[in-house]
Symmetry: C2
Amino acid sequence: MSPLSDTNEEGLNSKPKTLSSVITGGGSGMRIIVPLQGVVQGRGGLVLGSVIPCALFYFLQLYLKRNRSYSDSDSPSASSASSPSTSSGDLVNLSRSHSRTVLSPRGSSGPVLVSTRASNILRGESAYHLGLRKCKEDEYDPETNPDGVIQLGLAENTLTLDLISEWIYVNKGNFLAGNVEEDKRQTKLSVNGLTTYQPFDGIMDLKIVFASFMNQIMPGLVSFCPTQFVFTSGATSAIEILSFCLADAKNAFLIPTPYYPGFDCDIKWRTGVELIPVPCRSGDDFKLNIPDLETSYNQAKKRGLKIQAVLISNPSNPVGNVLDRESMYDLLAFVREKNIHLISDEVFAGSTHGSDGFVSMAEILETEEDIDRSRVHIIYGLSKDLCLPGWRVGAIYSFNENVLAVATKLARFTAVSAPTQRLLVTLLSDINFIEKFHKTNKARLKKMYNLFVTGLKDIGIECCKSSVSGFYCWADMSKFLRSYSERGEMELWDKLLTVAKINVTPGSSCHCIEHGWFRCCFTTLSEDDIPVVMNRIKKVIESISTH
Amino acid sequence: MSPLSDTNEEGLNSKPKTLSSVITGGGSGMRIIVPLQGVVQGRGGLVLGSVIPCALFYFLQLYLKRNRSYSDSDSPSASSASSPSTSSGDLVNLSRSHSRTVLSPRGSSGPVLVSTRASNILRGESAYHLGLRKCKEDEYDPETNPDGVIQLGLAENTLTLDLISEWIYVNKGNFLAGNVEEDKRQTKLSVNGLTTYQPFDGIMDLKIVFASFMNQIMPGLVSFCPTQFVFTSGATSAIEILSFCLADAKNAFLIPTPYYPGFDCDIKWRTGVELIPVPCRSGDDFKLNIPDLETSYNQAKKRGLKIQAVLISNPSNPVGNVLDRESMYDLLAFVREKNIHLISDEVFAGSTHGSDGFVSMAEILETEEDIDRSRVHIIYGLSKDLCLPGWRVGAIYSFNENVLAVATKLARFTAVSAPTQRLLVTLLSDINFIEKFHKTNKARLKKMYNLFVTGLKDIGIECCKSSVSGFYCWADMSKFLRSYSERGEMELWDKLLTVAKINVTPGSSCHCIEHGWFRCCFTTLSEDDIPVVMNRIKKVIESISTH
């Protein structure tokens, strides 16, 4: 129990009890007034003289608290339980006061207590999540809601959904039909592959086509092996299970910053693993360097933390750059020297648009003999490279038999449903479609990236030059900050969200140590949206410049 | 770190260090002999005299331990890491020694370490899981593998799969086609509902039809509310998330025994919540009584455990009986008095075959005004009542806003994929089909139950009379135990698995305090299989009787 919840749980209860026993000890409710008169007239005892002001103060607090919590949220529904208002200035305070309504005291008319760890999850909300939610509540649509919030905060790609749509139109029902054909021959086997218990870590058919798919769309020579996969309900779940396997609660991972803000939920919430930032800087084009890794490692060790892994995203989210081969060898040497693991999150591997080549950690391990593969683990999924986040398909790809064995057992909590697996087997087997989709998607990604970055440049905003992949650019708006600080960054973010009605992800949500950087996702926009976005941003930065 | 793993990881390393420093302190390796001579000849000091026997004993232990672990596993592959041999006599020892190969020490040629909690998951395997695995490796098929193991250990129902198969045949592609129609009108919205990010806790369309479905198939007057659902990847995940929300690690739930063996994984593995058994007895038809609950509660409190909830399965798994209304009111009064939660696992709610009526906790809460709903949570899913375990659809149904808010956030780890959700919306909307399916399924369930229980009776095995639901009967084979003990029960279980080639779940896996009870699932059998099953069991029990 945290000190805060303890105070709520017992402090608030015990006070009224003491009070009422003192008060009613005198006889009826009317006596409440009498001792007060007694105190005023100098006839009251020491006990009543101190208890009554305390009680009054307590009821005053209670009254203020209740009024405050009602004004925060109009309806106490599940979705609004963690809904601070839009104004970012009050962000921290608001989420705090909400957590108090969550932790309503025992025995009161409020709900019975949830666990401390559950309360912690409700407490507070990062600007990243707040922006996503605000946008959802009032989403821009050129026709139906032209004044709505434009979403540049979600790394989702709809640029090539038309091809997926076409494929579904042509193939609809094929994956189900396959089973029903069987059905005609033998009732008992009928829909078995579709309805009955399947291996939680994924059916072998899927593992085989999934490995081929990765070999097909990843640049370079890779050869993923079907038996090294454990599928999960999205990459979110893959990273959580992997964290559980590699580290105990209060152990830590080193992670270069800026990093994907979702990791704070994915890794910390349930596994209790800590993330130790390793700062990367604009001067190095936000590239990781090993001496910084070494420094963070040593500092963490001094604090008594047990470092269990280095976690990188390659291609990087939010910067969009990729690791060069030399850095990858250095990283492998580092984790070997420290005897720790290396997690390579490669969910954007097939979504490159620049000329600098992405290299999968799997390729490095294949070409080098003298590497201890058992400490290397890759995270992958179909949300990014196949534009299918709604399908919730993630994968752990590991070279470590124990990790695979545990992850297979934990997959019971997060299995991909059989219809989706069967649908995927059909889709990923269609290598001509995959080829066409991948080529088209990369070309559209490149075009949109160039349009968007040029648009920003035209209004005076430069982006990180080393970006070659992902659905976003990493934009430097530091010169528009009124103060070079996190506060200054949040002020600009708030203006963009509430005035320009543009939701972007501030660098602080990504733990960037430099201020004024923003991740802007452009892959749910149409080309027509770009001038709208630029005009909106322009107005805000002009108002700042002339202020 | 558990004490055991500490010994493995550091103890084994540190002991030789101390020892060698003592030994080499004298000079060269040859000196090892000299002090021994010294001790023998009476010239040795007290220190050496005690260190050397200890060292010898230590190396002897080390030698024995290594030899033992090698003989256990021929290949240290992932799949065999937790594969004890079939012989149940060595079950406990085998799983223990296996865990040592998993925890290979740092710096050795073995793989880099996984976390302690991950190792704990690999350590050991209950008879329930071992039986399931053994059966999978050599599964009975009347035509292709007539000597294989017959599966009575998995609560899966294929009795009415033909209807599901027929429905899919008629409706194939409908759920996808709906989106493609839209596609013709507007490319951007096209396959959005099928491919893009959807609410992790489930789309509202599904919540609405799911609530109707539960209202339709649950006996009695219930009215489930769509906004109180959070969907998860199977009920397995629903119970885990709920446990996380209601209790912190090392808190505990009270749970009547015998209970579903999967709870030990679902609840303990990752949430760290402990399960305190509340024994039910054959004399009471395995019905829960409140004084026993009270006793277990008080004993646990004395041990310093914080009890956060009572977890019941109603209908019960493995017994198949249901709670009567009076017991339900008593339970509600109990949790209110203790100010704790009540979790009602109702996954078999629609799979009753007897005349005694199941009553959902939701019905009780609806009909009574004076109940604090916020402490009551229901677990449900489609694996049992709709014969769709492969679809991985579970649900938390809660009356507590905070629990719903946290579960909604945690659903990011375990979301049901959009194609499956869309497919389900189509299926559950077809209320005529659901009606027909449900009626047929209950009739077939009843018929199979009667056939199976009669078959057992004919060979001298009685089942618990109060069973009115589920895919199993709860069979009393205590009179065939060679010794009335857990060991005796495991001997019989092993004979059934290896000689009769019948996999059943022993009561000990369900934490039953009485010996000789077995859960036998009959819903994946055909009627023709029943005589085969009975003959096989008969041979084993006859061999015991004549032994």
